[in-house]
Amino acid sequence: MSDERASEAERSRASTAERAAAAGVSPAAVSEAMGEVDPSIYRHLADAQMNVELDTGDMILNLGPQHPATHGTLRLVVRLDGERVIAADPVIGYMHRGYEKLTEVRSYPQITTLINRIDWLSSFANEVPFIHGAELLMGIEAPPRAQYIRTILTELSRIATFLLFLGEMGLQVGALTPAFYGFRDREHVLNLIEAATGGRFHPNFNRIGGTKDDLPWGWVAETRNTMKVVLDACTDFDNLVAGNEIFEARTKGIGIIPGDVGAGYGVSGSNLRASGVDWDLRRDGKPYLVYPELDFKVWTHPDGDSFARYWVRLQETREAARMVIQMLDQLPAGPVMAKVPRIIKVPVGEVWVETENPLGQMGYYVISKGAIGPFRVKIRSASFSNVSILPWLLRGVYVPDVITILASLYFILGDIDR
């Protein structure tokens, strides 16, 4: 068996060398580009004596599409050697709902309703870049109060989704209780969003020109209280999960993404910031909503491991709570809707808007031909690029670490598959 593998390795190396010579690049570059696994690492990976002697060969394990570890229907085909992963291949598309096609036959308010459901845990944040793009094409600007309300709701959805993440990463690593704390504390934020917009998960609150409604009486005071609860919850997570030595042993040094590799694969958001890259579209990108007027800190962490990603999101939750309190203090009075015609026809044009969504960088490329609906909308979702790094990242890790890495990257299937 090992003779066969050796000769196969020889043949594979020979063919790679041929291809490299033809293209004029080094063989290693060709291997990387083709996504091949360097066969010489077989011997390194089979380091346990037992594996070599018993010659266990490769076992192909299908993680998913129905699996508690992948957040939804992600299928991960891994080739194992004992407990180590040799190669991993994510298979996506089990949840494809055809968003870009759906948007071709609907009007702007109808699309706003639909795109709530792309990243369903932080659903308000999905509407923002799309409506902003339509407003840029029309040349109108929402009034300041509407901008503030939009930003507050965006940050609230960020808190909601990150509280869930803080809880369920603990769950994936084995601790049962943090997941419940995450859901329990998230309820307060969802109640706030429901009081303002009418829907807990799918607010559908943005309109071209502003927001649909104003805030109900007592919402500001309620939000201040809830932010205190959120900050307490973050302290709890700090002590229960991030400070737990077992959690640290499970996540430190696991799944290290170097900053340049991550940026090369298109990883964005907290994942990239956890690798030390100081990039946040709220501060560095084109200005949108009220972020230019806010004073907030962008958190980065020098290691790029799973613990860093957990830590960065924990700090960002606290930062979001502080930002909400800041915005409540600065909330201006005024109308929430600009003067827009009854039937909105967006003028001809194309626009690209990208925003810092909780999952990463989300962008919409809207092409309008002057009708009541867009001609074409291209959705750049954050999780799609975040997941693209998995084949590179999962080489040589143990099976339990695969789960930790998947949990720490925090993708939502609706975001990957759209």
Binding site: P68, G174, A175, T177, Y181, L240, I246, Y398, V399, P400
Partner: protein, 344 residues
């Protein structure tokens, strides 16, 4: 039982009665532990209530109903499973639990058989469950089950040693391996001359107690050592292909073993059925089981509290904890105990 009841029953009848009591005690103990800790304590630690409706009063009927539900399920076996091995595996796990119960004393006369080498025997038969786990994983013809079973085998064998080393300290101090003798040593002992509460070995063998709890946690494959049954990865590991009453066997085996280990820990370290101040055998025979039950619930509380709080260790970290930290600590404990026993 013989002296108290003053009935002239043959030894066979008495043995039969004792066996039946133990057979009834295993599922009863499993259900009580499961309900109090798994359903209610875990729920309250997670800010929720747990089952409230079945049975009316705080859902006490939930597990009984679950048991009945499991019994009436269809008996499914994977097509490629090894039929006989698949069927026997859960039985082996339950049998090993049953055998441990035989030597646990619940009163001065209430023990099935007081062996001279009680402790040795108890630890030996409790490791039989490893075979059952391996059989279950292999016979399931399922890659996930196989992964779980292999992890389980490595883990259970590794943690047998700290379990044993923890107990050796107690044996050295009590100067006997018989469990009744150990309870007696704690009841009649004195702490530097003060004998109001006897001499529960937890005071001097606190290292051993901690070691025993950690090793018992691993033997029961509970978090933080539940790699074999990692729910978010392998979804039940070696038990994944088991449904219906076969799964019920595994469940009873798991919680029955938890009951047995808690009872062992209570006997070895907290004094078992001994109540300070009660010397009358008759009264001790009546109160003994209740006292032992209370002490074992306390030990079980500690074990389950840790279970619901910590994440799980990875397999290699798990092994490192056992071989690099627990065993040296256990050996050092024996050394110190022996030295002090000879000196004092």
């Amino acid at each position: 039982m013989d002296g108290t009841l003053a009935l002239d029953l043959g030894w066979g009848t008495i043995l039969a009665i004792k066996t039946l009591i133990v057979l009834a005690a295993i599922p009863a103990g499993a259900f009580i532990l499961g309900y109090v800790f798994l359903l209610k304590m875990m729920s309250h630690m997670q800010s929720r209530l747990g089952p409230m409706d079945p049975g009316g009063f705080h859902g006490w009927f939930q597990l009984v109903g679950d048991g009945i539900k499991f019994l009436q399920k269809e008996d499914i076996m994977p097509a490629q499973a090894d039929r006989r091995v698949f069927a026997i595996a859960p039985a082996i796990v339950v049998i090993s639990t049953f055998l441990v119960f035989l030597v646990i004393p619940t009163g001065p006369d209430l023990i099935v058989k007081d062996l001279e080498v009680g402790v040795f025997y108890a630890l030996a038969v409790s490791s039989l469950s490893v075979i059952g786990v391996l059989m279950a994983g292999w016979a399931s013809a399922n890659k996930f089950a196989l992964l779980g079973a292999l992890r389980a085998a490595a883990q259970l064998i590794a943690y047998e040693l700290p379990l044993l080393l923890a107990v050796v300290g107690v044996v050295v101090q009590a100067q006997t391996m018989s469990l009744q003798g150990i309870v007696g040593a704690q009841q009649n002992g004195a702490i530097f001359g003060w004998d109001a509460i006897g001499n529960p070995f937890i005071l001097t063998q606190f290292v051993g107690f901690a070691l025993f709890l950690v090793a018992a946690q691993a033997e029961l494959t509970q978090t933080p050592f539940d790699m074999p049954v990692a729910e978010s990865e392998l979804v039940s590991g070696y038990m994944v292909e088991y449904t219906g009453f076969r799964f019920l066997f595994f469940f009873i085996g798991e919680f029955g073993t938890a009951f047995a280990f808690s009872a062992l820990a209570a006997t070895l370290f907290l004094g078992g059925w001994a109540i300070p101040g009660v010397d009358d055998t008759g009264l001790a025979n009546v109160l003994g089981p209740l006292v032992l039950f209370t002490k074992l619930m306390f030990v079980a509380f500690l074990m389950f509290w840790v279970r619901f709080t910590y994440p799980r260790l990875r397999e290699d970290q798990l092994q490192a904890v056992a071989w690099k930290y627990l065993i040296p600590i256990g050996l050092a404990n024996i050394l110190v105990t022996g030295a002090l026993k000879v000196a004092l």
